[in-house]
């Protein structure tokens, strides 16, 4: 699956490496995971204008958290856990800002969309955005992690620290909501 597949050699080097090796390893992780982090944050609802900032914060957090990474676990789900926590903080802080924005004229609000997202934005991408926006974060994160990023339910449960059966029930609900909203948006011609 594009953007998502965990590549070969995707685990960081073992701890105990020298400083420069650690730096190289971090750089390698950065190169390999940048797109993954970016897309995951976007799917979790980080607005385009904030993606560079939040991506930066994720890698900062990752740098601090790497020593705690258990190399027997798959790397990407763990990374998703890291980026999800950063994204949650950001969204929590950003809620007030969005409420303020809601009172602003549409053209002001629209500036939040990045040009790259408005220019060749396909109808399907708009539908995905709307359908994800219609969901609360606990459901959204499970859907994104499982169906968009392709991680197993077990990995989702472990990295989000929720019971497996909760993962499944949220996934069911999230899929149903997603599809329902997607249909609605399609019926309205993407204007929802």
């Amino acid at each position: 699956m594009p953007n998502n597949r965990e590549e070969v050699g995707s685990r960081p080097d073992a701890p105990g490496a020298s400083v420069s090796e650690g730096r190289e390893a971090f750089r390698a992780i950065y190169d390999r995971e940048f797109d993954y982090v970016w897309h995951s944050l976007r799917r979790l609802g980080i607005p385009a204008r904030d993606l560079p900032d939040v991506t930066h914060d994720v890698f900062l957090k990752l740098h601090k958290s790497l020593p705690t990474y258990d190399a027997t676990r798959p790397f990407r789900p763990w990374l998703f856990g890291v980026l999800f926590r950063v994204a949650s903080d950001h969204q929590h802080l950003g809620r007030n800002a969005r409420e303020i924005l809601d009172d602003m004229p549409i053209d002001v609000r629209d500036m939040s969309a990045g040009p790259e997202q408005r220019a060749g934005e396909s109808e399907e991408w708009r539908i995905v955005d709307r359908a994800l926006e219609a969901m609360d974060l606990p459901h959204r994160v499970v859907l994104v992690m499982h169906d968009f990023s392709g991680h197993s339910a077990h990995d989702v449960a472990r990295e989000l620290s929720i019971p497996l059966k909760t993962v499944y029930s949220r996934l069911r609900t999230a899929r149903a909501r997603f599809v329902l909203t997607a249909h609605q948006v399609q019926l309205r011609g993407g204007a929802a």
């Binding site: 590549e7 070969v8 190289e24 390698a28 970016w38 560079p52 995905v128 997603f178 599809v179």
Partner: protein, 296 residues
């Protein structure tokens, strides 16, 4: 998963990702935040995004270690959003005939005392001051370094002087922090290097990046053969390019993906021989170790 959900997920996976400029800027900012980019060294200047008009935006991560090479102000940028307030200088005419604009964005770690812990870097003020050339040509500050250098910053002395040019800095901005920072900034700036070189190097680097970025995306999608085609194109056009090492590392990964272990292995041996101290070697080795039973 319903067919609709499946098709929308597939469509979403085709969305464009971050640009190479996003990637480079975030890394540069991260370098400052993590203290990997030390104060006291001109670290890197990254030239990117050549437009049709030949405009080059150079983002210089520069610092003065006492002797000033500092172009403008000031301040270690932390979050990238704050970079946005850095001023992109209006076009400066450097070309003959054609207008070659070089918009220079320089942000500079303020002083050796700011030598930076992550928190110091984060707290440091990002600010921009517009560098206005007194005379037409060449108002550039730092030598553009290949991305690889931005990637693995090391302390190094200021860039070699080719054509020192003095530019006047004019405080401009916009941000509460910038005024304070600007007042601490040296009023005059010695800029080193020839503008045309910068534009040329920046253009080539941007062209290299433009070839490698899609290949990187294809690798991320697991499309080894698609990536190989692009990487071969890069090899033909830029055999000894600034990003040759990155190309080789990606090629080895692509070969592994296509199942061509023998070529991956021999390519890795060649890489090791040619770049014995490469920063990319651990990644290549990890790629091989993960998929091959024996090391190259």
């Amino acid at each position: 998963m319903s067919p609709l959900l499946r098709s929308l997920v597939d469509a979403d996976n085709q969305r464009p990702g971050p640009t190479s400029e996003d990637r480079t800027r975030v890394y540069a900012t991260l370098g400052v935040s993590l203290g990997l980019i030390p104060a006291g060294a001109v670290v890197a200047a990254h030239a990117a995004s050549a437009t049709a008009a030949g405009q080059v935006t150079a983002t210089a991560v520069a610092a003065s270690g006492g002797t000033s090479t500092v172009a403008t102000a000031v301040g270690a940028a932390s979050a990238v959003g704050r970079l946005a307030l850095l001023i992109k200088a209006p076009l400066m005419t450097v070309g003959v005939g054609a207008v070659l604009g070089a918009a220079l964005t320089a942000y500079v770690v303020k002083s050796p005392t700011a030598r930076s812990t992550a928190s110091a870097a984060r707290k440091a003020v990002a600010a921009g001051v517009l560098a206005t050339p007194r005379t037409a040509p060449a108002a550039l500050v730092a030598t553009p370094a290949p991305l690889a250098e931005a990637a693995a910053p090391e302390e190094r002395p200021a860039a070699p002087v080719e054509h020192p040019v003095t530019v006047r800095t004019t405080p401009v901005h916009h941000d509460h922090a910038s005024l304070a920072a600007a007042s601490e900034a040296p009023p005059l700036v010695a800029a080193h290097t020839d503008a045309a070189d910068v534009v040329r190097a920046g253009g080539a680097l941007a062209a290299e990046q433009a070839l490698l970025d899609p290949a990187r995306a294809e690798l991320a999608r697991g499309d080894g053969s698609g990536a190989l085609a692009r990487l071969e194109l890069h090899e033909r056009r830029f055999p000894g390019g600034a990003l040759a090492q990155e190309r080789e590392a990606m090629t080895i990964r692509a070969l592994v993906l296509t199942g061509d272990r023998d070529r991956a292995r021999s390519r890795a041996s060649t890489f090791r021989a040619r770049y014995p101290d490469s920063l990319l070697w651990p990644m290549i080795k990890a790629t091989l170790d993960a998929t091959l039973s024996a090391r190259p």
